[in-house]
């Protein structure tokens, strides 16, 4: 077989192989720093004694007319994750297969032991997003008890928010979150911003939420391999 023929054959390979080789990033082995940014952020709230207090329910109207209610969170419990995981950035193909039409950015998470797909952590626009494909939840925030629930297309949504104490300039930060489950898969979304912009922060979260619910549970066939 001559090299010229082989060279031409290589050039005729599908673009997906080229794209994969261009986008590949090696897996990163890590112990538990999943969602470390949020954990650090939450720790800061606690460490600096940021003030939590009971506030009235916040709401946003979803496109279907339902009202999503965010309950004020009275505490910031976190869940200890002690997992060996492998992570890598997902390619555009993989992201589109998982979250069609949603422009998701982020990385996949696999079990460090059996290399099974555990989920995804990233963003939908400004909205931070964590998808847990199995019962192993990748977010380390425990959400239970005080949150308000609502529904969109028959899917139950639990939602809440934090509000920080005013900073030296008198500005507060609000963090809205929402979570729902479809076929054993858990979706967690979170968006933060200045309190003065809270309406846009909430509506961005709601928009991402609706897109995910509309797409439904993710098919296992779309789960990428490590």
């Amino acid at each position: 077989m001559n090299t010229q023929l082989l060279s031409h054959a290589l050039n005729d390979l599908g673009e997906k192989y080229v794209a994969e080789a261009l986008e590949y990033a090696p897996p990163v082995r890590q112990k538990r720093p999943l969602f470390i940014a949020l954990a650090a952020c939450l720790s800061l709230f606690i460490a600096f004694g940021l003030w939590q207090f009971r506030s009235p329910l916040e709401t946003v109207t979803l496109s279907g007319g339902e009202t999503l209610r965010f309950a004020p969170l009275s505490s910031v419990p976190t869940n200890s994750l002690d997992l060996f995981v492998d992570t890598r950035a997902l390619t555009a193909y993989e992201r589109e297969a998982l979250f069609p039409g949603l422009s998701a950015e982020g990385f996949g998470v696999w079990s460090g032991e059996d290399r099974s797909f555990l989920g995804f952590e990233g963003h939908l626009g400004r909205v931070r997003f964590i998808f847990s494909a199995t019962e192993t939840l990748l977010q380390d925030t425990i959400i239970e008890g005080t949150e308000a629930t609502a529904s969109q297309d028959g899917v139950g949504i639990t939602a809440g928010y934090f509000r920080t104490r005013p900073n030296s300039q008198g500005k507060r930060t609000v963090i809205y979150y929402a979570t729902f489950t479809l076929n054993g898969q858990t979706f967690y979304l979170e968006n933060a911003g200045e309190e003065a912009d809270k309406d846009s922060v909430k509506s961005e979260l709601a928009q991402a939420l609706e897109g995910l619910i509309e797409n439904g549970a993710l098919p296992e066939a779309a789960f990428p391999s490590l």
Binding site: Q4, L5, H8, A9, N11, L13, V18, Y24, P26, S225
Partner: protein, 185 residues
Amino acid sequence: MEDKQIVELFWQRSEEALAALDHKYGKLCRALASRWAKDPQDAEECVNDAYLALWEAIPPARPEPLIAYLCKVIRNLSLKRREHDEAMKRDSRCDASLEELAEALPAGTDVWSEVAAKELARALERFLDTLSRQDRVIFMRRYWFGDPYQEIAGRVGLSEKTVSVRLTRLRKRLRQYFIQEGILS
């Protein structure tokens, strides 16, 4: 700028498309062309030719992903140019009898090669699909992009030695696969 926006500029026949394309992917394109072209000047010309090829292809094409499409065009142009240069050199050494024989042969030889290359490409794709993602990337970076071992090692997070061993195994596997498929005897 997002790839979709660049493609849209091509569709609008805006020359900003070329500037945006070069700004975003120029460095990568020149690096790829320099792997296959014989000198930097040739590489630069290949990149420019590739931009022109995109200008002519879009519209009606809407390549997705844009960079993979562009890389294919650059590699193709670079190889064609090199083959042409090598053929010119060969011609200079050819004796008259071979030239006569070449003229007497039908132009079907090239057609046959093209068909064979396409069939071989499909077989290669089937082979690539049997590999792990990492092995597939190592194979493509070495034989499609022409990257040196050291560069591949850095890209996939392995040592240079491991990449070398992996490629040796992959070549053996490929040969075995081609034998199974009846491509090699």
